[in-house]
Each structure stands twice: as structure tokens, then as C-alpha cells.
Amino acid sequence: MTESVIGVSRPRVDAPDKVTGATRYAADGHVHGLLHARLLLSPEAHALIRRVDRDAALAMPGVVAVLTADDLPIAGAGSDRTTEPLARNEVVFAGQPVALVVAESEAAAEDAVEAVVVEYEPLPAVVDVEDAMLPGRALARVVEENAGGGDLESVHAATDKGQDEGEDEQLSDNVLDKVHRSNGDAAAQLETSDAVVSGTFRTPWVYQAYIEPQVATAWLEPNGNLVVSTSTQGTFVTQRELARAFDLPLERIRVVAEPLGGAFGGKFALVEPLAAGATLALGRPVRVVFTRTDDFQATNPASAQVSHLKVGARKDGTLTAITARMIVDRGSNAGWGVEGITSLLVAGPYRWEAHDLRGYGVQTNRFTFGAYRGPGAPTAAFALETLLDELAVELGLDPLELRLKNAVVEDDIGVSGNPFPRMGAVEVLERIREHPLWQSRESLPDGEGVGFAAGYWPGGNEPAAAVCRVNQDGTMTVVTSAVDMSGVNTGFATIAAEAFGLSPDQIRVVSADTTTGPYSGASGGSKVTYTVGAAVLRAAEAAREKLLAAASEELEIAAADLEVVDGVVRAVGSPDHSITVAEISGKALRFGGRYEPIEGHGGSAQTRGAPSVAAHLAHVRVDRETGETTLLAHVIAQDVGRALNPALVEGQMRGGATQGIGWALYEELVHDESGQLLTSSFLDYAIPLADRVPDIDTLIVEVPAPDGPFGAKGIGEAPVIAAAPAIANAVAAAVGIRLRELPMSAPRVWAALEDARA
């Protein structure tokens, strides 16, 4: 009988290299003849670039080039970060890269950046996101981009978008996208509900704060092919973006993902166009490393949002209707926005009788926003879960029972119009309810309180492929192109081990690049274990079939009567009739060998989603005198489908919860009225530190995903989502105030307490 390896906590496969410093991250590799690039960032939030004077910089020792937009061989049209990695004519955010100074050393490049003189013609900076929506307001981007470059005259002739057909809202051209979903008559339902609560919730720009700053290195092979070695979440998506930017065929571009020092959504094709552009322009290898200050100013944090929300319920706690107006500050990102997902997730994992949900993506003169772990979800949950608690108070109901009463089950129709698949909402809520912290919440000292909140992430789907290759020594190599962001490689080893019949110690996982690897989508969206893991499972099964076919011939026993246990193929019931995987492989992998190499290829293309629900309890103590909130304890329960490796799953749960604690209490990127970033270092931007975070109890709930490998789902994003509202609800329980703005910093809490006293 084989002992299953599913559900066993094993160390990460890459741990030994990481604890010895052997892992080479993207800034570590040696490249012969490497040049170093530093960014020159715009100090202006909105301006036209009139002149760039590079003479003084070029005269400095070690400086090779000062590149501006015109020097990069960008062929693609557009003004996104891929096709306009350096600002062409118009700067649209303070911190936007305007030039790249390339030198023999980082120090020389940094020295020379100061010597480049740029002349700007300032334009009005659009910084108030709600104001920017109104007709007649100044536009955050004025230059019309076309293939031939910008038309500067149109600066003064910018016009508004007229009234949208069928809509009664007059909106400026700063509104890049609107979404609207509705069902039934939500307004009327709210009128007749027994309890209605509403509020306006503000969440700030929040920075992913991966500890490894962004970096990419590019060089040309002797045949002119472009190679980019980078810290990225996705090789193929980066390859596509580079192809689009530089009009190169895919086969001329090779993207290699180095081990990732954290990303959380922020590392998608932001640096590579810069490095690639510089290499193509100069014909020499170039490494672009963002300093932390650059990374604060010039990357892609999560959008600030203003959410106007109203929810209603009947006396018995049945939720009736929800209306929402979610305004998302996209900054200067015209390509995509989270207004769709946030206005979907604001309904939470609950049933509603009617809904009217609107989302707006608005451009302002701030950074291009980017994805950050569950984009659009923490902001929506903060609003919803706060109001649901208030509804409970108004109706005199237990807040957790209110959630349970309305929690979706399989086939309930969500606000997307689609049925929910099997999802552990009820199971997670019931599990949290049992925790002693919830049980004892009424008997706490003054100034302490316990709060609860729940949220979910829909998960993602993307087709993927994998290869399992048995080596001459009987070990196995698993090949995917998935970037290991959350420990997925360790998961793949577990999956392959279980499916094939080897110990995970006998399995190596390799992350291949765009030239050598089977296809994998980017790591993100909580889908890699679900999709690539499923491909690995099928590849391992395919390899096992080949193995058994060969073994069957060797042992003269039907394949159906064979089992594979810990690297040995043996007859079921008579283990003496056996042959090792190594022996079979040895007979295959040699000149004149009898058997095909023992390899399997697998693919996956799930269409069913595997959403994950997570609920939090937070126990806080609020110091009424200082406004400081101390988190005394925290609990998270999450439906993970199947915990392939509980330790890794717990790591994701704790890590996500901790980022949620950051949303709740500490994190905020702040601009002034002219669009200048005031918080451009960790001196101003606080992230959770070791002595600010308590132990976090993790309650793993397993509601298997039918299409996931052994029932596993993608779980990386759900844990961040409801941490902040749990803490907000705890603060309300502790000292009776409800903050409508994140983070709940000490000064804000104190001010709210003062207001309440008055």
C-alpha cells in the first residue's frame, strides 16, 4: 500500500538553495560586458516634455548613453507602459520614467542621472478622482497618440465625451470605462427593506512592497535574438508584450524568469520593455534595476477607490438588495481596470434578490495602477463587510449568523449572472464560528474587541501544459513554465509523486523559459496549482502509462496488475515481482534501447472556476489615548479545495492575512494636491513588521474542486481580502467607532474617537 503524499507538510523544494544564499535572483547573475541603467523620473505629475539636455551627463565618466523615448526602437502604437516605457511627449504622473541613463557601473549611472536636465511645461494635474469624472474637467492625458507620435496642438483642444447613449450620466473623457450590472429593481427593494445601511468608503493606493525591487537584464545573442532575464510573474505574457512593443517575431525573443523575490501582482512587463529597448538601441547587455525609491514612484501599485454602497435586509436577516457605485482611480493606466471585478465582488459570497452595481475606471495623473493580490477585492470587502456588520447591529442579529443565512451554495446565481460552483462559504463560516475567539467575544476587557468578515476570490483559468520526464537514474524532472510565486513547484512535485509513484524527494521541478518550456500562463489570479497542477497531474499519469507498458513487458504481467510504490514497479499482491523505475529507464535511455523514454506530456483547460472563500477573526486592543490599534490575535479560515501541502497552504493564508493587516492599519501611498508622491520610501510607507503581527491561527477547510488536481484550488488571493474589514469590525466592537477610510492609522482612530466624544 502506498502512503499518500497528499496532505503532508514538506519543506519547499527550493528551500535549501534559499537558506544558503545559492539562489540567484534576477539582479545576481553575471553577464559579460553588462551595462547598468538607472531611471530618470519626472518630478512633474502632468507636463509636456520640451527638452532633454544630456550633454553634461554624457560627459561624465563611465556613461555610455542617455536614452529617451525616441532612442528606443518602439514600433507598437499606444501609450501604455509597454509601448511607452519612457514618456514620449507628455508626462502623466510624477515618477514616470523619462530617460534611462546607461553606464559602466550603477554608481556612474546614478551620478549621471543628476546631470540630465529636462525642461517641462507643466499642465494641470488631475488628482481628485471623483472630480475628474465631471464634464468639463481638465483631462489627465491630453496628447492624442497615433502611430506618428503625439499631436501637441490637441493639448488645447481637448474635449469631453458627450452623453453616452442610453445613459443619463454626463462624464468627462477621464472616465475610461464604465460597467453596470443590475437585476431586479434594487432601489425599490431597498425602499421596502426592514433595515438599510449605507456608506462611502475610501481606500488608498497600496503598494505591493515585494522585498525584491524590480529588475530585468537584456542582451542580444550573436544572431540578434533578444534574451531577457527578469523578475517576472509570467514569461509568455512578457514575451508577447515585447513582441508587440518592438515588432519582433516571438521566436526572436526569449524570456527567462529568474527566481522571484515576491511580486503579488506587480511584476508584469513593466521593466522588460526598458531593458529590452536599451539593449536593442545600444547592442550591448543592459540591466535595469529599480532602486526602492524608483520602485515606489515608478511601478504599479493598487488603485485607490471610492465606494458608495447601500445594502438592505429583511427583519429575519435575508439580504434584499445592494446598490454600489465604485470609482476606481486607474492613475495613468488606460489599458485595463478593476472597476469590473470590484463591482462584482462587492456583492460578496452572498445571495441578493436585486442588485444595481456600477463601476467606473477613471484616469488621473498618478502611477499606472497594477494588480495587487486580489485586485479590487479588499476594497470591495471593506465596504460590504462593514455594512453587513452594521445591518446585523440594526436588526439585532449575530453578524456571523447573518452571513451564514445568506451564504451562497452551489448553483446559486451570482451578480455575474453565472451560477456559483461548489464553494466552501458555509463550511468556512461554520468553522470560524467554532473558534474560541468568536465564542468569547462578548467577555472582553474595555478597549478590546473581536470582529469578523468574509470574502472570496473567483480564481482564474488558463490552459497550461507540463512535461514529466523520468531520468536515467530513476528520478523525475517536471518541466513547466510556471513562475514559482507561491510554492507551486513544491506542489507540482507532490502531485507528480502521488500520480506516478515516486517519493517527492526523487522529483526535481524545473521552470523553463519561453524557448524551452511547455506553455503556462502567468502566475497570478490564484490559478497555477489549479491549472498547471492539473497539467502536471496528467503528464505524470501519461508517464506512468509508459512506465507500466515497459514494466509489463519486462515482468510479463498485465499493466493493470502492477502498482508503482516509491520508485518500484511491482505486482499487486506479490511485491517480489518487481523492477525499479531506474532499471526500466536504464533500458529505455540508451543506444539500442527497447522502450520509449518514460516521459509524459499533459495539458489542462478548465472552464469551471474554483473560487476560494476565506473568513477572518481579529482581536484588537485600541489605545484610546493614542489611537493605536494592537492586533492581539488573528484567525483565518479558508476553503482550499485540498491542501496538497498544509505548511505551504498555511504560509499563503498567513502571508495574505498579513498583507490584509497592512491594508487595515498601515498602508497608504499619499499624493499632495499637485500629484507629488509624499510616501516614496519605507520611512513613510509602513508595512507590517514582525512585532506588529500576532500568531495567526489557520483553519484549513477542504471542499474539493472537481477539476483541480486531487481537488486542490488556487488559494493565493482569497486570504488577503477580508482581513481589513475584520479588523475594522473589531475596532467597532472595541471602542464603538466605525472608520470609513483605510488605513485605520492611529491619528485617524484618535480623531474618530474625539468626534465621538464631542
Binding site: 507538510s9 519543506p11 519547499r12 527550493d14 528551500a15 535549501p16 538553495d17 534559499k18 537558506v19 544558503t20 544564499g21 545559492a22 539562489t23 540567484r24 535572483y25 539582479a27 545576481d28 553575471h30 565618466p61 550603477e106 554608481a107 505591493q208 512592497a209 515585494y210 522585498i211 525584491e212 525591487p213 527566481p259 522571484l260 523575490g261 515576491g262 503579488f264 532602486t291 526602492r292 525609491t293 510565486m485 507561491s486 510554492g487 505548511a647 505551504l648 498555511e650 504560509g651 498567513r654 502571508g655 495574505g656 492575512a657 498579513t658 498583507q659 520610501s681 519605507f682 520611512l683 508595512i687 507590517p688 513588521l689 514582525a690 512585532d691 503581527v693 500568531d695 495567526i696
Partner: protein
């Protein structure tokens, strides 16, 4: 412009020579000069601790030290912790107790722990957490790191290498 010069440092028990300018930070000398890339750069305000090394057995941020200031001292980087291919007990504890995810902060965490445990063989959790104030982690939520340090403390006290 101050001239480049050669600097002799003792790193991981060996005499090494590296070309530096006076302004060269210790972290740069280690990474660029000596190829010891296990020491990482994570910020520019001396906060994140990813650059932590031991100087005369004390944890310091190598980004906040000139290479010249390390002259005459013994510098140990993460690469110097293991002996003959054997993981140091602290390293083993981090592996076994899942004290890392992306691993970028890990060398710094381990070396700070080494300093702490050399002075406080019985640290309680609050002491461990406080001592890791200067080591940022964004992945783990810190708990598994604290557990790893606690396990390392036991291993070091009992000699269970």
C-alpha cells in the same frame, strides 16, 4: 574623483581582495566585488534588512556600512554559514519549519537570528519578533520565521546539529 583602490577584507574566514571606491557600500563590495550574491538589496533607507551580514559576529546592515569600515573585521555572509556542505542548524530550522517563501529576506533573517541566539539562547516569542524588527518579510506573515528561530534556538542549545 576619489580613486578606486583595493581593499583587503576577511570574508567567510578567507582573506579576500576587492576593488572599491571610498563610497562603495559593504553590500556592493560583497555582491559585485566578490560575487557573494546571497546578500540582497531591498531598499535604500536602511530598513528592510535583506542586506544583513555578520561583522565580528554582530548583525549589521551591509548597505549602511562602507566597505572600508569593515577593514580589519571578520565579515560573514549567508554563504559562510554552512560548513562542508552541511546546513547550519539555523538554516536547517528554516527549511524544516517553513520559514521562507520567496526567500529574498531569508539570508538576512537567518543572520539576524544568529546574532540574537548567540546572545539570548532562550528567547521568547516577543523577543524573537522584536529582534526581527529590522528584517522585512512580505510573504510569510512572520509566524513561520518565529517558529524557525525558536526551533533553531533549541537545536543550538542541545547541539542537535
Amino acid at each position: 574623483m576619489p580613486a578606486a583602490r583595493r581593499l583587503e577584507l576577511v570574508v567567510n574566514g578567507e582573506r579576500r581582495s576587492v576593488e572599491i571606491e571610498p563610497r562603495t557600500l559593504l553590500v556592493q563590495a560583497l555582491r559585485d566585488g566578490l560575487g557573494l550574491t546571497g546578500t540582497h538589496i531591498g531598499c535604500d533607507t536602511s530598513q528592510c534588512g535583506a542586506c544583513t551580514v555578520l561583522v565580528d559576529e554582530r548583525a549589521v546592515k551591509s548597505c549602511t556600512m562602507l566597505a572600508l569600515q569593515a577593514e580589519g573585521s571578520e565579515v560573514m555572509t549567508i554563504e559562510g554559514l554552512s560548513r562542508d556542505g552541511e546546513l547550519h542548524p539555523i538554516q536547517r530550522a528554516f527549511v524544516e519549519h517553513h520559514g521562507l517563501q520567496c526567500g529574498f529576506c531569508t539570508p538576512g533573517m537567518i543572520l539576524t537570528a544568529s546574532d540574537l541566539l548567540s546572545r539570548a539562547p532562550y528567547p521568547d516569542d516577543p523577543t524573537i519578533r522584536r529582534s526581527l524588527r529590522g528584517n522585512f518579510c512580505r510573504c510569510t506573515g512572520y509566524q513561520s520565521i518565529v517558529e524557525s528561530v525558536r526551533a533553531a534556538a533549541t537545536a543550538l542549545r542541545t547541539g542537535t546539529a
